[in-house]
Symmetry: C2
Subunit: 593 residues, 2 copies
């Protein structure tokens, strides 16, 4: 069993130094101080490390069981979840009006990484609940909110997203589940698959948010509505009543996240599952996207969390495992793995990328705070543009990198990494879902090049690139960092050129869609590298300043400079190489397969 | 369960068109014709696809069990292995003097890919046997050979490599197993871990090749000798006698290759396991390297095999799964996955890389044939240099790519890819061992930069690069392929520059070893990309010629040109980006971790 320690020092660096607590400057948060946030982070780290993390490997080994319609989660999960709810952690980012603690999203995101790093399978449960809270708060009527929201915010009840059906995966327009009006509510009939935490024993009720069609609904997206279907019915006083007609039919046997029950749910196998319309009829997909964007951001953070844990385990093993010898120039004695430079390269590659991805994800979270709470419309809109641009990148780029980082953690362990008892292979198995769910990474890339680049003709990206270029110029002003400034500048130029290609291709009415699909993933990868390099460029400037100011934590800032050098000089070039793929003729993909 | 069809068409293209059957030009093979080889490939493909492949997923699900000291392999494995032995497949590459069929290594390698693609877990068994055959044939005395070799070549008995101990993984110098002289033989005492097919029920005897120390042995590598330890003793007439004192203590619970029993073996728990010295005392590691180099080549091919199967499964799923719609410009109807250009990009990326890796591995195999059988010493030596240079690249680069390709195959499946029943996740789990065993890929990279580049000051690589440059020039002569010629030429230039850096760093007596370790993996990745691009450049020239000559198989050659374009224009740039990492200061890795 590997320990997990929340990366508090690096999170603080991002919040304090890189983001300068910009969320706290919003009027909404005038009563919050950095000290309070610090205390929150520390306590979350303690619960994550002491309570959640020790259950992670056992959860993988035991998995979940379906017995007589009930799902039994792994030993300790129910208690650990209860501790989380009782600690008030579920609602830390939610509106105080609904019982939440109303902390900034940037803090909630930092804490989110800790749950995901400690126990990804268990952390999926509140991740889904948060989506249900968001959809209900934004689109539910007052009666529904009064009955369900508070318990969801507290985490006493949990939430799910019921989208996928056997024929409807990435394409939800072909959802078939039916909802028939029946007095004040509806009766739902249908089957949903891949429902994360769709049934479990950790809470007394589960609130399913379900996409379904009304009887007279149009075909396609326009015919889909959103319904709330509780596992147990709730009366007007909020008391739990009998079980609704929704049941777990089977559990999936998955590559990873064994502690997270992935259910096939049957709705209406008897007389129809009672459900309540959320928002407007026919607007179900739009309403669901409210929660999906937030969930996509969180899945990106999940990738960072699980990869951070894999990194910590590899680092600990490399420090302890004696194998081989150091070169004669360093004494020739027996060496721990970490003394070998190829192993150091692997570890630095993991750490540096994690720091960069974390900085980018928290930057995006801070833009969410501004988009919600800034006083001027202009500031809110500008921030929302940034969030829209960053979200597919945070989701897809972080999770692609997470799989690679977890795989490197296995590699550092050598043969021991392949043995399940070691526990590091679990992180690779767990991480592998993140590029798939909440919209595959291919879907994210298409979202980037169409909705986020094509639609505004690159305005949002160009405005970010102006800031990246300014960072490159600042680096160039420092003789020690000038070379890094040049490579970052080159990255900006490549991205601008790639953006031109995107817009040219998009202009082709005939072939535009195919052409954009053909370059979408390389484009997301390029932009991801450049945005991460930007964050590490900024980090390098701050680290240099801190060292010049004689800051006492020299080890931290020196390590930060090493991370920045890795990202800018070793890693960024791999992303820039995508320009060739972006420019290459998309006609290639017409070729026979 | 996914079917597997050996990629016969592409293998034939490599043997016939790219390699022009150069092995058959050797006097050794004067009686062999391309037709015979064709028949061998076809029949092997049939056995692999019809007999071995259907057991693959069940083998994963059942795994192996240890009961009362006996290891039970998955249902059907023993029968499938017997069919393989009875078909004469085990010895197809072995010397006819020992009962082998004496086919060229390039043919044996092509067939090897088929077993690995059909059932990697089962194919590991003969892979290890082949190593034992090689070590015994080269280093064993006549009595040992007479007693053991024929049955190993036929596959009636299987072989193992007993290297690793708990404290001795990548560094074998600290092996502790003891061998005490006892009359004409030795008594071995010790414990070996990670012994692939160390105990099983598929053959009546197992021949362990074991590294151990004589009582008076020096410390370190020089004190290690190689011993043959049979599971059951064999008398002078070759009859099986009683069980030797070697036992399976436990089986590892692994991420993948569940059908392959990975054993902890206890030697001499009673009165000592009877063993026989192979070769000279103190030369055990050197002798073992005889089999390790061959095994490294085969593990590279194993990566190609398992990745090919993952690709086939993804391709089949993409053709069949209906999801989303084609753009309006193409009619707007409902689409199969393969009609989406992002999916086409993934599939082409898998196929193109596989074709390139296969061509490189079979090129290396053909050099093995020349190194063994060419008439002139000069030709043999030159070919051996090539084999030495290619082996770490074939092993490490193919297996790194294999993990990525298998992971992409999961991605193509979307959510279904994460469900174990689908079977595609197994390929990722299986493939993940290949970068670890037979020398981690980090060890391969270090082997490349030290023994294969530093030692001859880049002579072998430069001579290959001359050929790559000539290929680039030929491409440049064809107006249609000129752009590809330029990028290949750039790849050559980058590699020459990287080689200069390697040699400069190696010259630093103080820091040279660390500096080489720091750039070894990026260097291997760069060279791997360039060699693969070379093969696809050659393939493109042949494909163009075939199309110009009006060859009837136009679909194949057009697809080959598409693969070449992907490798040269989309993929090679990623490898070239490693030059930046190679040139960057190795001092980075001195930074605190």
């Amino acid at each position: 069993m590997s320990p997990y320690a929340a990366p508090l020092r690096d999170i603080r660096f991002v919040l304090d130094t890189l983001l300068e607590h910009r969320s706290l400057a919003l009027p909404q948060y005038q009563d919050l101080s950095p000290d309070v946030i610090d205390a929150v982070l520390e306590e979350a780290g303690r619960v994550a490390g002491d309570v959640w993390a020790p259950l992670n490997q056992d959860g993988d080994r035991h998995g979940c069981r379906l017995e007589g319609g009930e799902v039994l989660t792994p030993p300790g999960f129910a208690e650990a979840y209860r501790a989380f709810v009782e600690g008030g952690w579920n609602g830390i980012g939610s509106d105080p009006e609904h019982g939440g603690q109303g902390l900034p999203e940037v803090v909630a995101s930092a804490v989110q990484e800790m749950w995901q790093g400690a126990n990804m399978a268990l952390a999926l449960c509140p991740l889904l609940t948060a989506g249900a809270v968001e959809a209900l708060a934004q689109h539910g009527d007052e009666a529904l909110k009064a009955r369900y929201l508070k318990k969801l915010v507290s985490g006493e009840w949990t939430g799910t997203m019921n989208l996928t059906e056997p024929q409807a995966g990435s394409d939800l327009s072909v959802v078939r589940t039916r909802a028939v009006p029946d007095g004040a509510h509806y009766r739902l009939h249908g089957q949903k698959i891949f429902i994360t935490w769709g049934e479990h024993d950790c809470a007394e009720n589960i609130v399913h948010l379900v996409l379904a069609r009304l009887p007279d609904a149009a075909e396609g997206n326009q015919g889909i509505s959103l319904f709330l279907v509780p596992k147990r019915l709730v009366d007007a006083q909020g008391r739990l009543g009998e079980r609704n007609d929704v049941n777990c039919v089977s559990l999936e046997h998955k590559l990873g996240i064994h502690g997270s029950p992935t259910c096939m749910l049957g709705f209406g196998e008897r007389d129809g599952a009672i459900g309540y319309l959320v928002g407007e009829p026919g607007r179900g997909l739009a309403h669901m996207f409210t929660m999906m964007n937030a969930a996509r951001h969180k899945v990106g953070i999940q990738g960072i969390g699980v990869a951070e844990r894999a990194y910590q385990q590899a680092l600990a093993y490399a420090r302890e495992r004696v194998q081989g010898r150091v070169p004669k120039s360093r004494g020739g004695g027996s060496a721990t793995l970490i003394e070998h430079y190829d192993v150091r390269r692997m570890l630095l590659s993991m750490r540096a990328r994690l720091e960069a991805l974390r900085a980018l994800a928290l930057l995006s979270a801070s833009e969410m705070d501004i988009a919600r709470h800034a006083e001027s419309t202009e500031a809110r809109e500008r921030a929302q543009q940034r969030v829209d641009l960053y979200t597919p990148i945070v989701k897809a780029f972080s999770t692609d990198q997470a799989v690679d980082i977890a795989s490197l953690a296995v590699q550092v362990h050598g043969g021991m990494g392949y043995i399940e008892e070691t526990g590091v292979a679990q992180h690779l198995r767990d991480a592998r879902i993140a590029p798939i769910y909440e919209g595959t990474n291919g879907i994210q890339a298409l979202d980037l090049v169409t909705r986020k680049l094509q639609r505004d003709r690159g305005a949002a990206l160009n405005s970010v690139l102006d800031e990246v270029a300014a960072c490159a110029a600042s680096l160039a002003d420092d003789p020690e960092l000038a070379a890094w400034g040049r490579v970052l500048r080159d990255g900006v130029d490549d991205t601008r050129r790639a953006l031109e290609v995107v817009l040219e291709r998009a202009a082709d009415a005939e072939k535009g869609h195919d052409a954009l699909q053909a370059l979408a993933t390389p484009m997301l990868d390029l932009v991801g590298h450049v945005l991460c390099a930007w964050q590490m460029g900024r980090a390098a400037l701050r680290a240099r300043a801190a060292l010049q100011d004689g800051h006492e934590d020299t080890a931290f800032y020196r390590a930060k400079l090493a991370s920045a050098e890795f990202v800018l000089c070793h890693w960024l070039p791999r992303g820039r190489a995508q320009l060739a793929a972006i420019e290459a003729a998309p006609a290639l993909f017409d070729a026979p397969l």
